[in-house]
């Protein structure tokens, strides 16, 4: 066969909108640059790599600036009729890219000293973190199932290695659990994607929606099974109950900054994928997955919060463990607007998820940051936070603020408003029962967050051994950044809540 048998060979070549793809691309290039530079740098100079990663992420964030104004920009489009595109930089994508890249940047600042102190292999660590971040940044912009899955795997495969980098038994065990459950999820998801492709004949999200509406009768079960399997895959990544069991062990096994990174960026990636697949591709099945997601949300928040409530203060790693369970609970809140979108049949409620994810990202990374500070000086138990105010008033105040934001209690105003918009999404979609379940959960969560806050200001236990260590600069900077961000958002919540009103896609 003639290799040039294509009717219009020139038509296969298309120009790529490099500005639109810049954010994930810059992060990926930075990852490669760090990996190569690692080969040539002498051992004593490897610290530079960490700063280089921070700069790389900063550049990636800056590359988003040209995209903020103006309409959505798409690239990698089909020439055929309809012209579905594989990559679209719209407001939804930009918001999640901001979360992924910003979260990764804060994670880099948090881990600069960890890499030194725990003797983690520098080059690999930074390379893995940046690769994962670039995957997480690619994901919200992808508009076909193949790109989605590749992006999801780029985001999560390096994360397994990051968890395992700490070379002790726990690290390996946590990473293995994470790896096995995640690979299972991917396999299930691939199967589902295959089914959907077989039933609709497309892998682009918008055409899938059209195809699903007109699936021939005998293919309907296939399409439905495909949709369910795809959702299950994403539910694993978000750690929605009952696919959450890997999470606490993985978080405690990982270095604390990596746990923070996973809790924010990893979740955001899964959530963005879930939102895209459900609201765009599976739009015709809205009521079905709406109900499934509503039940998942209710289960997730309840299990997460009850488990967090049961954490004892005196067991090792209880601080990280509590944050891990609380992040499961928070993922439940994040799912509520998604379920509402299913009921309403429009992506409009998603704005609440985006806003809440951004808020949660800032305060949760901050909380992990303070946990990292305390882990250096006192330990990883909740009880080690007792009397933190007397030892380091600023980190204690920051932690109190983060916890109150997570709880949604003034003065943590921004957390309250985040919950208010989620509530509104539920009420508007006539999901009153879910709003009530959420209210009960918020109250449960208030209890353990407040208990922790009270610990910070309690008198230090007699005979407690505390090493007086100065907080390293980058760690302090990350805390200042997150605390400052949370305060600014509390004073001017409109900065983040504007995504609720605007159009995302």
């Amino acid at each position: 066969m003639n290799p040039l048998a294509v009717a219009d060979p020139g038509g296969l070549i298309q120009s790529v909108d490099w500005v639109a793809v810049a954010p994930p691309l810059v992060a990926a290039l930075a990852a490669l640059a760090v990996l190569v530079a690692d080969l040539f740098l002498p051992t004593g100079r490897k610290r530079v790599l960490g700063w280089a990663s921070a700069v790389g992420l900063l550049l990636a964030l800056l590359s988003m600036l040209p995209l903020v104004r103006g309409d959505a920009r798409s690239t990698f489009c089909l020439k055929a009729a309809g012209g579905a595109c594989s990559y679209t930089a719209d407001h939804f994508a930009l918001a999640f890219q901001l979360l992924a890249l910003g979260g990764a940047l804060i994670a880099v600042l948090l881990s600069l000293h960890t890499v030194d102190e725990e003797r983690l292999p520098g080059g690999e660590y930074w390379f893995l973190l940046l690769s994962s971040a670039s995957g997480a940044a690619l994901l919200p912009a992808s508009r076909d199932l193949a790109t989605l899955i590749i992006a999801l795997e780029v985001a999560s495969l390096p994360a397994f290695a990051l968890v395992a980098l700490r070379r002790d038994g726990r690290g390996a065990e946590g990473a293995l659990k994470f790896f096995l459950s995640s690979v299972t999820a991917t396999a299930v998801m691939l199967l589902g994607v295959g089914f959907v492709y077989a039933a609709t004949g497309s892998i682009h999200l918008a055409p899938i929606a059209e195809g699903l509406a007109h699936v021939p009768g005998q293919l309907k079960p296939l399409a439905e099974a495909g949709a369910v399997l795809t959702l299950v895959g994403f539910a694993f990544k978000v750690a929605a109950v009952p696919f959450h069991f890997w999470l606490p062990d993985t978080y405690t096994a990982a270095p604390i900054p990596v746990a923070g990174y996973l809790s924010v960026v990893g979740k955001a990636a899964g959530l963005a994928g879930l939102a895209l697949v459900t609201t765009i591709a599976f739009h015709p099945y809205g009521h079905t997955w709406g109900l499934v997601l509503a039940v998942l949300a209710a289960l997730t928040m309840t299990v997460g919060n009850v488990a967090a409530l049961r954490q004892r203060g005196d067991t090792p790693f209880s601080a990280v463990r509590l944050l891990a369970w609380s992040s499961v609970g928070q993922a439940g809140y994040l799912l509520v607007p998604l379920a509402a979108a299913g009921y309403q049949g429009s992506p409009q409620p998603l704005g609440a998820t985006v806003a809440y994810a951004l808020i949660y990202g800032v305060v949760n990374l901050g909380a992990f940051g303070v946990a990292a500070v305390v882990a250096r000086t006192a330990g990883t138990r909740l009880d080690d936070h007792r009397g933190l105010f007397a030892r380091g008033r600023w980190s204690a105040l920051a932690m109190a603020f983060f916890l109150l934001c997570l709880a949604g209690l003034p003065p943590g105003v921004i957390g309250l408003f985040g919950k208010v918009v989620v509530f509104r999404a539920a009420v508007d979609a006539k999901l009153g029962w879910l709003a009530v379940v959420m209210a009960v959960n918020v109250v449960i969560a208030l209890y353990y967050y407040l208990l922790w806050t009270a610990r910070l200001f309690a008198p230090a236990p007699a005979g407690a051994e505390v090493r007086a260590v100065r907080t390293p600069g980058p760690l302090a900077a990350a805390l200042a950044l997150t605390a400052g961000g949370a305060v600014v958002l509390s004073v001017a919540p409109q900065l983040v809540l504007q995504v609720v009103g605007g159009s995302l896609f």
Binding site: F389, R393, L397, L404, L409, P410, P411, V413, L416, F417, V420, V421, F423, R424, V427, D428, A435, V436, A439, V442, V443, L446, Y447, L450, T453, A454, F457, P459, P493, Q494, L497, Q498, V500, G501
Partner: protein, 517 residues
């Protein structure tokens, strides 16, 4: 004018933030500076509140004055809407006054000792508490009201848990859990109203007077709001956090808790429940009235039991229970849904703030001197004989007690009278026999109240000065005590002799709210 109101909120907030900066190298200097700093800031805040009252146009108390109304979060239509009218102005001044007196009192009399945090934190928390209390009375947006309502919780929690005495941590936990559970329910009610009516603005909602809200919405929202505010007020049977919190709290904590925090609940009922969801309020008014009447009788019976000889009654606990009774009158007045009743409730709010504030100061002073507030221990066989041993404190205590029992001519009288008057002739649509029954119960309550307060006066103030006592030296009133108590006693007298001062402010505003016009 609106600049004054904004400054009134920002000044204590800035003060609270300033306490995060170290005040001095050694602890003693820093402590002294922090105390005077707190007094200065609360004093300036009081001056601002007085300026606001002077600038207030008293011919138009029904109109919101010193209004600021700017967009804050357009995404969910929350506005920074501040303003005062005849209902909120007296409460703002009372709050500023009580906080200043507490700060003044604390300069000499702050709990110290093992495990008590630095004075700087105390000042910071007191100022943060003041911000929340003032903001609650100044904001006109439901969401902001909720935020302000919650801001007070954390400082009060720490005041009780860290500066208190006895079983302070469980008491503080109980306080915060009760209030949080209540206010979470209340927030749901607010959100329901806001999302259904399309605005969180209290003045617009009040002007609509329930238009645009279906009957079901109104009933559900009213129930949620009522539950949240009833915990705070506190209405029987949701009051059980209060005695523990008062017993454990330090003196200034008790004064502010009784003097201001309880008023936030009843103020919310008047400001939100009555005008915004009138149908819902009318549905639940008979139940609220019933609970109020039970609360009045229950509170006074509990006090009688505590005042008995051999009951091991704690004086602070006794006054806490008496608060349940007095707030019962306030709630009864509100439940009558009449201008007379609501005016009585608002008057009762202020009167209770003044009188109970004074009582808690006095009991705190007695506790400081004797080291205990256990009535049996204090009284011994014949009575503590304060008249003989510390005549001025004894006289003030007797004065506060008779004011509290509602002696005509003192502040406590008018609120109770008007509340009962309102219950005698409740609003149209409410069952008259039921409310007359409540009124009779309330009347029985006043008798019981008189009974236990006179027992307390007899056991604390009278007695044989020669009998062996706990302490040999019993200093009489000191300068700082006189300074912080005299304004309260004087205002109790003024409000009792010239009730029109307050009623002329609140009456037009109440009619405006109830009439919706």
């Amino acid at each position: 004018m609106n600049a004054v109101l904004i400054a009134l909120l920002l000044l204590p907030l800035a003060g609270a933030a300033a306490t995060l900066v170290p005040f001095g190298a050694d602890r003693a200097t820093a402590d002294r500076r922090a105390l005077w700093f707190g007094t200065g800031v609360t004093g300036a805040t009081l001056a601002l509140a007085v300026a606001l009252a002077i600038g207030f146009d008293q011919d138009r108390p029904a109109v919101m004055q010193a209004v600021t109304n700017v967009r804050w979060i357009p995404a969910i239509d929350v506005r920074l809407h501040l303003g005062v009218d005849g209902i909120s102005l007296p409460l703002l001044v009372l709050t500023a006054l009580l906080t200043f007196l507490c700060a003044l009192y604390s300069t000499r009399r702050l709990p110290a000792g093992e495990g008590v945090p630095s004075v700087q934190s105390f000042t910071g928390l007191l100022l943060l508490l003041e911000v929340g209390m003032l903001a609650t009375f100044a904001v006109l947006d439901l969401v902001l009201f909720f935020v302000a309502f919650e801001v007070v919780l954390i400082p009060m929690y720490f005041l009780i848990a860290r500066w208190g005495s006895g079983a302070k941590v469980p008491a503080a936990n109980r306080f915060i859990l009760y209030t949080l559970l209540g206010s979470a329910v209340m927030l749901l009610g607010f959100l329901l109203i806001g999302f259904k009516a399309g605005t969180f603005d209290m003045t617009r909602l009040a002007a609509a007077h329930g238009d645009g809200l279906s009957h079901t919405t109104q009933v559900v929202a009213a129930l949620a709001i009522l539950l949240g505010l009833a915990v705070k007020a506190p209405a029987w049977p949701l009051h059980s956090w209060l005695p523990d919190a008062h017993t454990a709290a330090p003196t200034v904590g008790s004064v502010l808790l009784a003097g201001v925090l309880l008023k936030m609940g009843t103020y919310g009922l008047v400001r939100v429940l009555l005008p915004v969801v009138p149908e819902g309020a009318a549905t639940f008014a008979p139940y609220l009235g019933a609970f109020a009447a039970v609360g009045i009788v229950y509170g006074s019976l509990a006090c009688l039991a505590l005042a008995r000889q051999g009951a091991k009654g704690d004086l602070k606990r006794l006054i806490a229970y008496s608060s349940v009774g007095h707030m019962g009158f306030v709630l009864l007045g509100i439940a009558s849904l009449t201008p007379a009743g609501v005016n009585g409730a608002l008057f009762g709010n202020i009167a209770h703030g003044l009188i109970t504030g004074l009582l808690f100061f006095l009991v705190g002073a007695v506790k400081d001197r004797y080291g205990t507030s256990d009535l049996d221990t204090l009284a011994g066989a014949t009575g503590a004989a304060l008249y003989g041993r510390a005549p001025r404190i004894g006289a003030l205590l007797a004065f506060a007690a008779v004011a509290s029992l509602g002696l005509p001519g003192l502040a406590g009288f008018w609120g109770e009278l008007l509340a009962m008057f309102g219950a005698f002739d409740p609003a149209a649509g409410l069952s008259r026999p039921a409310f007359v029954t409540y009124m009779v119960l309330a009347g029985v309550g006043t008798l019981l109240t008189a009974g236990y307060l006179l027992v307390v006066v007899r056991r604390v103030c009278m007695g044989d000065p020669k009998q062996p006592a706990l302490v040999t030296e019993l200093p009489d009133i000191k300068a700082y005590e006189a300074a912080s108590w005299t304004p309260l006693a004087a205002l109790t007298l003024v409000a009792g002799l010239w009730p029109a001062l307050l009623l002329s402010l609140s009456d037009p505003a109440v009619k405006h709210l109830l009439g919706g016009g």
